[in-house]
Amino acid sequence: MRRLAAVKTWSLLSVTALAGLGALVSGKAGDRTLLVPGATSDGHHQIELACDACHSPFGGSAALDASCTRCHGAELAAADDTHPRRIFTDPRNAMRLAQLDARRCVSCHREHWPEGTREMGVTVAEDQCAFCHDDIGHERASHAGLDAASCTDTGCHKYHDNRSTYEEFLVSHAGEPPLLARAAPAPSVPRAPTPGRTPLTAANADAPDSVELESSELSDWAESAHAAGGVNCSGCHAPEGRWSNAVSVDACGRCHTGERAGWVSGKHGMRVGLGLSPMRPASAREPMQAAASEAELGCNSCHGSHRFDRRAAAVESCLGCHADTHSLAYEASPHARALRAELDGQAPVGSGVSCATCHLPRVTHATGQRTVEHNQNANLRPSEKMLRSVCLDCHGLAFAIDSLADAASIQNNFASPPAQHVPSIDWALAHAGRSPSIPGAEHEPPSTTRSSSTPPL
């Protein structure tokens, strides 16, 4: 009888514990922080409490890989991923899988392992390239004796995205000067007006009488692109008929679909994209301005409301939160000087460089329309992604690579020229049977950054 009672008690406790765990995992009860087995990587820490973003369905590396692909698959496809899964399902590579099962994302990007996680969430050894490419010295004399840990140095090779560093690309940009004669930016094709809408004036504003307007709100709106495009107060404040003073990201996204999609994919909006509360600077791992620490990020955080000042959104909004060394050095940087010169009318339109120029770049679509990439992370890691989308608009490739490879130069927001030289272009030229003629090589380049037991050429 006593034994039966004990069994009943254990059964009840077990069921209760399982139900509690289930409720925690599903997010229906309590704080999931207790469930996090270890700190997540910089890329995922904001969403680590949205367990099912990665663990759905729960269990197994295949399920995790599917989750990785859900968020990162399109980006990898666009990058012409150099090491897609299909390479490692090839029977020819079966023997290599024993060393590293590269069919799985999680073989190289293990989460909840802070002590073993490197930049970009990589959790394999720095010299992992040698597993398959240890004979590269036979193919490229310039690479003989190189430390395999240096393969992924800035300006060299990346595991997934090599669009800016493959040999022919390097060769085609050889000899470019540090500063290119920048062409005027292509005129943007305005967003097509919604059929049936006509430009509005302050007299047309349809805010209910019960809404108290601040003096500037009406005039700001009346001068905005929204009024010009026929978007009335209710278009943002009552998109489904019920008025709300606050305008949600989803309300903006009803028209700005692409911008919203980019924003929820980046660090500013990924929490909102997964149904979590908005990101606050206080939760960031990078240094932020104390005064902004409790602000909740939404479209208005950067764009304000009613006036939608894109110029402010390109610099002031960024610096209102970001307080890392690179951001704090912006105002004294050559990029900022160029922007001030442009705004003062002393330099051509489009010659200035704001924070957004590099981190939220304009993208020209096949239709000619130019939109802003609102995923601030889209070209940030690895930094070579920025070469094509931004740097090469103004700078020669060699100078741009050298700059991105110079940590001190990045810290001071490129206030000083790069103090080192990455020999990628030199080596590509030598392999193609051409003489290096890049400015850095001609004018006594600084010491190379590559560790090699043989001369670079």
């Binding site: 399902t89 029977p91 023997m95 392999h431």
Partner: protein, 185 residues
């Protein structure tokens, strides 16, 4: 192409001999030969009717190794590899590759014993194919190697001039490498 491949693969379960036909089915060798016939034909059509016609005869568009960058046509060998990649993604039990003893990319060197033996054989015997079996990882494969000859001046020209090519004396008609087809068993 994949439907008959899948049907034939199903018939391989009871197949004991590579070249003899099981009752009501096809042998691995027959299947590999059939797959090769399709691949070879598709590649010839693409080379002749797309690349050669549009680039050389009409001058409408060029073919380029960096076809995306150059907004050009993929080279026939690249088209072949893209098909191989897509087939590999389907994980349907058939893999094929274009390998060579003198590849532009060292990743396309023969790696397994069957690949090494097969490529050496077809170079020495340009009119014959090579068949073998091998165990890679935890799977057995029937592997066939077919000679891949320089059928157009462009093949020879590109390989002889390419900075990454280890051989620069190919002539028209030479065996430049081999098509390797693998069937999971």
């Amino acid at each position: 192409m994949l439907l008959p491949t899948a049907l034939a693969l199903a018939s391989l379960v009871a197949c004991k001999s590579a070249s003899s036909s099981p009752a009501g089915g096809v042998s691995p060798q027959q299947l590999a030969d059939a797959v090769h016939a399709v691949l070879e034909s598709d590649r010839a059509v693409y080379t002749r009717e797309v690349v050669n016609r549009l680039q050389n005869e009409l001058g409408v568009i060029k073919a380029s190794e960096h076809w995306k960058e150059d907004k050009a046509l993929p080279l026939p060998a690249q088209m072949f590899r893209m098909g191989a990649d897509l087939t590999a993604q389907k994980e349907a039990g058939v893999h094929y590759a274009l390998l060579s003893q003198w590849p532009i990319s060292r990743q396309n060197l023969p790696r397994t014993d069957v690949e090494k033996g097969g490529l050496a054989f077809v170079v020495e015997n340009p009119t014959q194919n090579y068949y073998g079996s091998e165990r890679l990882g935890d799977t057995n494969y029937f592997t066939a190697v077919y000679p891949d000859k320089a059928i157009a001046p462009a093949c020879v020209q590109c390989h002889n001039q390419h900075a990454s090519s280890p051989r620069h004396d190919f002539a028209l008609g030479d065996v430049m490498g081999g098509v390797v087809i693998r069937l999971a068993q």
